[in-house]
Point group: C2
């Protein structure tokens, strides 16, 4: 079979690899062929290696561990810029999806990742993002078990976009969801509002002044685990991302057919966020968070849950900010310091594009 070996020696001739541009993403990195296989081996598997992923089949095989139900969630991530104080698109893509799965009380265990890469992207940029995803996945205790890469031409994306899908095990009897809030429940926020949105805006240079504010992007499944250990009375968990706390609370009152009254002055807002919002005419209630959750908890368990939250790194500044009421149904109201009420409505239009 000498002829075979001879032929093999010129395998590179089929379609020459543009070696001069090896440090940049080229169309071939999305072809399914040799360049993509190299990218998978040297960039993705090198960082994320685990037996499920490295089996290299069309799908990853994940054990259900005997549970009857799984929680599954997906998000595309298009944040601009790719790197910002406190995080980057990779950490965001892992945490955002981990958090969505965790908000049902599920234990997030597996992630899939699909990339859309723009031709010309520095490979080193991709590698930084991949390393950040690994760090976030390790912190959250999840494995990346399947992936995909597509490459589009210059001007057809903005560096890179990432879609992640997360799967978590839902323990039997868990019934935490948006329709479970009940009159009398306490409303708790895990920390300060608006840090992520304002940090990203600052990284874009759109604030017009310097700020030391960092994004809060973080995986919240550890915090939730502590909360679930402290109480059986957690009815709703939700992360106030796009649209901010105001939009999230409006979703809850509609799903649960209740009202919520917030108490002005109880909402934790950092001075830097307050200042930026005042300057720009924004309301921190509508700014995206990526490492915060709102919990609706039975009245009798609210203090216990608050205490459990404050003992965790990501819940130190947790605060009870309001309560669930029977009327007015479907409305979130803010009780001002002088005792009047104003409606806190859902976000209309768009305040800050490409924040996540």
């Amino acid at each position: 079979m000498a002829d075979v070996i001879k032929t093999a020696a010129i395998e590179g001739m089929v379609c020459p690899v543009p070696l001069r541009h090896a440090e940049k993403i080229v169309q071939g990195h999305g072809s399914g062929g040799k360049l993509m296989q190299d990218l998978i081996a040297k960039t993705f598997l090198a960082a994320w290696d685990n037996p499920i992923l490295s089996a290299g089949n069309d799908a990853g095989v994940i054990p259900t561990q005997g549970v009857a139900r799984l929680a599954i969630s997906t998000d595309a991530h298009v944040v601009s810029p790719l790197f910002f104080p406190g995080g980057d698109i990779g950490r965001l893509a892992v945490c955002g999806t981990v958090n969505d799965v965790a908000m049902l009380g599920a234990q997030p265990l597996y992630l899939t990742v699909s990339f859309i890469l723009e031709e010309g992207l520095d490979l080193s940029t991709l590698e930084r993002v991949v390393a950040s995803m690994h760090a976030a996945a390790t912190e959250a205790g999840v494995q990346i078990v399947a992936g995909d890469t597509k490459v589009v031409g210059r001007g057809m994306a903005d560096g890179l976009y990432i879609s992640t899908t997360g799967v978590g095990l839902l323990p039997e009897g868990t019934a935490i969801h948006g329709a479970a809030a009940q009159p009398g429940d306490g409303v708790i926020i895990s920390g300060s509002l608006g840090d992520h949105g304002i940090a990203v805006l600052s990284a874009r240079g759109e604030l017009g002044f310097e700020t030391e504010l960092a994004s809060d992007v973080a995986p919240l499944n550890g915090l939730i685990s502590e909360m679930l250990g402290a109480s059986q009375g957690i009815h709703v968990l939700r992360d106030p991302t796009r649209g901010g706390l105001a939009t999230t609370l409006n979703e809850i009152v509609r799903q649960s057919k209740v009202g919520i009254i917030l108490k002005e002055g109880t909402l934790p807002i950092k001075p830097a966020v307050d200042a930026a919002c005042e300057l720009l005419g924004f309301d921190p209630l509508y700014i995206a968070n990526e490492g915060k959750l709102v919990a609706v908890v039975s009245r009798e368990d609210s203090s216990r849950v608050l205490e459990a939250m404050r003992s965790h790194e990501y819940g130190k500044e947790a605060a009870i900010i309001g309560e669930v009421v029977a009327e007015p149904t479907g409305r979130v109201l803010m009780e001002t310091l002088i005792g009047s009420h104003r409606v806190v409505d859902v976000l209309m239009g768009e305040l800050l594009p490409r924040i996540c």
Copy 2:
């Protein structure tokens, strides 16, 4: 609470909705707020409604039906143009992921979908894609259980991109994967090669002549179900998408540490594909398929599986195209009509960008 109702009446003032552009995608469709909620209700839920999706939580809850293992796979879809003979990006996004899950012998049941939409996209275009996804999902017997929408500015995408993730139940004892090919096994292809890639190229006007060729994009889980019913001797299933049959077979020989010898003249290739490839200097073995599978089957069951395939709509032109050999390990060879052998290597670089 008259003041509340009065305030509510001016809720649209928070951030005016650009009603004049309601027929186009605007940034607000990705904001998490009112416009996005409308898009979800009127476009996605209207087309895909099911109890899991319409629960409207951060994650969908899916039953595991008592199986111990699930198959999960993800793909980004960036095909250009969005609509092509035989399919569109929506059908592709559903079928591509359904097929990846099915290639492990799993029963695909659930899909998640994340969109990246370019500002200015016609809403009617999105609606056509969403309807096509519904039709494909119905054909495949899968439910869309979670989704996400992001909007990027003009020139930051090319109309729309779709990432899908699929989950399937893996019956106990199923062990179909890329490392399971054994010397003596037959290699079967389910139909003609290269239809998808050439159809997309033709839709781009890059062929320079007219062709009636249509993409083969189709869900293959029904075909696989028939095959599994006919034989316990199916060792490997894989869909030869990007990189074509040549690249797929090379993956199998590497994972299984075997060789494959293809027989020239046995590969089904339509005259239109042959003509286009000859004109453009392509080899149909490297062109993407989206509704074909390659099966590696025990020698004694090959005819039975072939027969089962030919009785199914998507396997009518199935053919035995080669066999697995012990040597040379890791090589795919083509035995020519005159009895010599040439190496069929993995795709280098990129032939046809944005084919899927």
